[in-house]
Symmetry: C2
Subunit: 332 residues, 2 copies
């Protein structure tokens, strides 16, 4: 084996993170103890929620520690050690990304079948990303056939799944917002009924034009102006699944909040925040249904792949700037 | 019969309403047609939601019309006409307050039993007010025994019911906010575990002291700073029933919104607006349970009664300024 490399959090970002907040550290490839495995990571995920973990604030997901490796979703091949049901040569999904070799307890890894699709899919459409979209849309927001769905950040990994799953589950109309003409064009290819670039004017106006009969379900990845516009557009008994608020993750100031929140009373709206970790009970149903759509060619997913661990910080920064189409991944 | 008097909306308030927005108009006592009844109103209700109806904005409750009588909950005696199951001499609950004599279709009135309690109770504890508290707490927010409940505007008609029902249904701790020392003292008498005057400092600090282990259910009558503080204090999987936002009804500017709304994600909070009209299915259960508590002397309710239709606008203005303890009513 060669040496190992990992990315540490060198300092906590104030506002937008920069390359200085990260440090590439050389270490040794670890040796497994009893019940442990060593995984050579093939892909690691960078996700918007990681920005929150870089702040030193009490939260229900603990913050990253300074001068320690970051972590997050990763998939790779077991190269040493072993555990109940996991052997050298297996492909596993686990939570110790941001490093080339991961040492972990076998019980913290889940074997995946590399023959179902490319292993990267377990970090995107078949993984946490896909389940986030599935659970948020169908469980948290309880979308019903015939309803109008609005998704912000719709060209991202989660958003593009939300829109497609909505159509496949019988939504009457699906509208997405994104941050570039190319992304808007991609949404149309993916089957969205309408899409707009939020740089082109007030979100409220664009949403009114795209969903003239109002919105029943809003899947929020963005927050801020998008959330306010969605509350304004929502129909009676509308539901919002609040998944992320990327518009404010890098704000040093308290963010803009929806000034029209009182509308939730007269319109009897429900706004519900969620984390995918609460919805593991849906995983089996999710994998069955989504894998079926993939086999039938009815569901597409995009990946934006960056090569090399040393480029992982850049991949993350690019994600925050919206440079990805679909899932942003680092190939190691 | 004598002449009739009613209160019209003379002009739409900008910000805080004043006496000039109302006009006392003399008319004739109406004559019932087939299936109609004439009710001599004994009590009429003034409620915070009426402020919203004075604005000419599209909403799910239509605005009051200019130069027409206002309306709202009232109870009185049938003095003329008749309809299926309703005869002269009956006491009925209906929706045409703000006038001394009401003409209405018999199907729009509901007979009530004046022997169960004072007829005013059908406008407060046994009426829409009580059902609002009951449905919001137990259905919308789904309070469970042992939980900590925070109610804003807790000395008001709805708030004081919420706190007491919470205790009677097994809440672990009930905290209320109110706008004067006398109201705070009354909350303690009503069995609240802690209460504070929101004028005494930041709501956030007072709430932290009153509910050191956080809040599971927030019943919002106030909005603004109270809602932000509640979101900050809420525990994992907390639920907010959004009933009213009286802090902003008279604001000419867009109101302050909760700047910490992103916390709904990590804490998996649910914010749900509601109107009592959607919860009629609970009425029978509500009346049975609440009437039982009243008989057993386990539930108290306050009424602030103003005499005379000409004083109804003052009663309404006093309500918006928080001059009431419990339900604000006008005796005609």
């Amino acid at each position: 084996m060669t040496s190992n490399r990992e990315i540490h959090l060198a300092s906590r970002p104030q506002g937008w993170p920069t390359a200085d907040n990260f440090r590439l550290v050389e270490t040794e490839v670890p040796t497994p103890g009893p019940g442990q495995i060593v995984v050579r990571n093939q892909f690691m995920s960078v996700d918007p929620y990681m920005r929150g973990r870089m702040n030193d604030v009490k939260s229900y997901v603990p913050p990253f520690a300074l001068d320690e490796p970051l972590d997050g979703g990763a998939v790779g091949e077991v190269v040493a050690g072993g555990a109940d049901g996991i052997s050298v040569g297996d492909t596993v999904l686990h939570g110790l990304g941001w490093r080339e070799y991961a040492l972990l307890d076998g019980r913290s890894a889940r074997r995946v079948d590399p023959d179902v699709g490319p292993v990267s899919a377990y970090l995107s459409v078949l993984g946490m990303t896909g389940l986030t979209a599935y659970a948020g849309l169908l469980d948290v927001a309880a979308m019903r056939p015939g309803e109008t769905v609005f998704v912000s950040g719709a060209a991202g990994a989660v958003g593009s799944m939300v829109g497609q799953i909505a159509k496949l589950r019988g939504a009457g109309r699906v509208v997405g917002s994104a941050g570039s003409p190319a992304k808007v064009a991609r949404l149309t290819e993916l089957g969205f009924d309408a899409a707009f670039d939020y740089h082109d004017g007030p979100v409220r106006d664009a949403l009114k034009a795209a969903a003239p009969d109002g919105v029943d379900v809003y899947f929020d990845n963005v927050g801020g102006e998008h959330l306010e516009a969605a509350i304004g557009a929502m129909n009676l008994h509308g539901r919002a699944a609040i998944c992320g608020m990327i518009a404010q993750y890098n704000s040093a100031e308290p963010p803009a909040a929806p000034r029209n929140l009182a509308l939730v009373i007269g319109k009897r709206l429900t706004l519900r925040g969620f984390l995918v970790g609460d919805h593991g009970d849906l995983r089996e149903q999710f994998v069955t249904e989504v894998a079926g759509w993939l086999r039938e060619g009815r569901l597409s997913y995009d990946e934006t792949i960056v090569d090399g661990l040393d480029n992982a910080p850049d991949a993350f920064l690019g994600l925050l700037r919206g440079e990805n189409l679909g899932k942003m991944l680092v190939r190691l």
